[in-house]
Symmetry: C2
Subunit: 185 residues, 2 copies
């Protein structure tokens, strides 16, 4: 068995390789990720976000958001997120559990500089995202540097499921130094 | 403005129409949905599931699962789920919050009868899904009628975001009898 899904190392490598492609290629299926948090009233909350950076060595993923978005309040209360990708071209589901840090201000100057000017209006919508408005377009989108933040997701656990002909599932945890364990799929 | 995203009713109709297509057409982007729960230790948990039924009148969605899967224990403790779709062909994100009932046994006889024989092995894996195993393929997949269950998701809240040229976002809640409200996107 020399296929990537035949070994724990192979699965691990393929997962990070795929999501790395999502950062580099805007058209790649790993570009968008389901990002789930728990609200103050203990409700699950999910939304789609754009994957901005991955670091397989440190097991870190990053996304960008508006500091006034409701997920920030959720993360401040409860700094855990579940990240989920389904990658149909390689029959791979990637699930990650992360501790999330909110980085803003001068710390993220270099990231802000790299945001294309036309995309900076994603940070600063008035009224703040999720607030009721009188009509569909009764909002403005100025680019507000102070509203930009980076969610640094320090991955604690990864669950990979290959759904090809014979299903294979494995779990990797930071606690066990990313030593993989096969699971029943 | 006669586009579907121009009105609250139009957005509502398009969302239910799209996810209905996901039930009918196995190749439709709404076929798979990110299904998020909260674990006993208050962690967000997400996985991809297949959408099996929708009922726009009752605002209900259904998925099928193995009653021994870990999400069942999570739902028994905390019967809420977040459902998330990103539908790139119409620039629409659909977020739903649902109260989940676990239906099994004779109640779901008719659903079980409709599961193709070749798919019934999705219910009954030994050891149970998520348990550690010695090797990648050290499991069996018998079809076990008693392990099949339906997760009936009674939708309480729907958040729709159209991400075309001018973003539009609206929220609908059962509590307000699904009367829509525009939100800042």
């Amino acid at each position: 068995m020399s296929e990537w899904f035949g070994t724990l190392d192979g699965l691990w490598g393929e997962a990070w390789s795929q999501i790395g492609e999502g950062v580099r290629d805007a058209k790649h299926p790993a570009r968008l990720v389901s990002f789930s948090t728990v609200s103050k009233d203990q409700r699950p909350q999910s939304r789609t976000v754009v994957l901005r950076r991955t670091d397989p060595e440190e097991a870190v993923c990053e996304v960008h958001t508006d500091i006034e978005s409701t997920k920030i309040a959720e993360i401040e209360e409860h700094p855990l997120a579940a990240l989920l990708w389904w990658l149909p071209h390689c029959d791979l589901q990637v699930r990650m559990l992360a501790e999330v840090s909110i980085l803003s201000g001068d710390t993220v100057n270099s990231e802000w500089e790299k945001v294309p000017v036309s995309s900076r209006i994603s940070y600063g919508t008035e009224p703040a995202p999720g607030l009721p408005i009188e009509a569909a377009l009764a909002y403005t989108k100025p680019a507000v540097r102070e509203r930009f933040c980076v969610l640094r997701c320090c991955i604690e656990q990864i669950d990979l499921t290959y759904l090809g002909q014979h299903h294979r599932r494995a779990e990797f945890t930071r606690l066990r130094d990313w030593k993989g364990q096969w699971l029943s799929p």
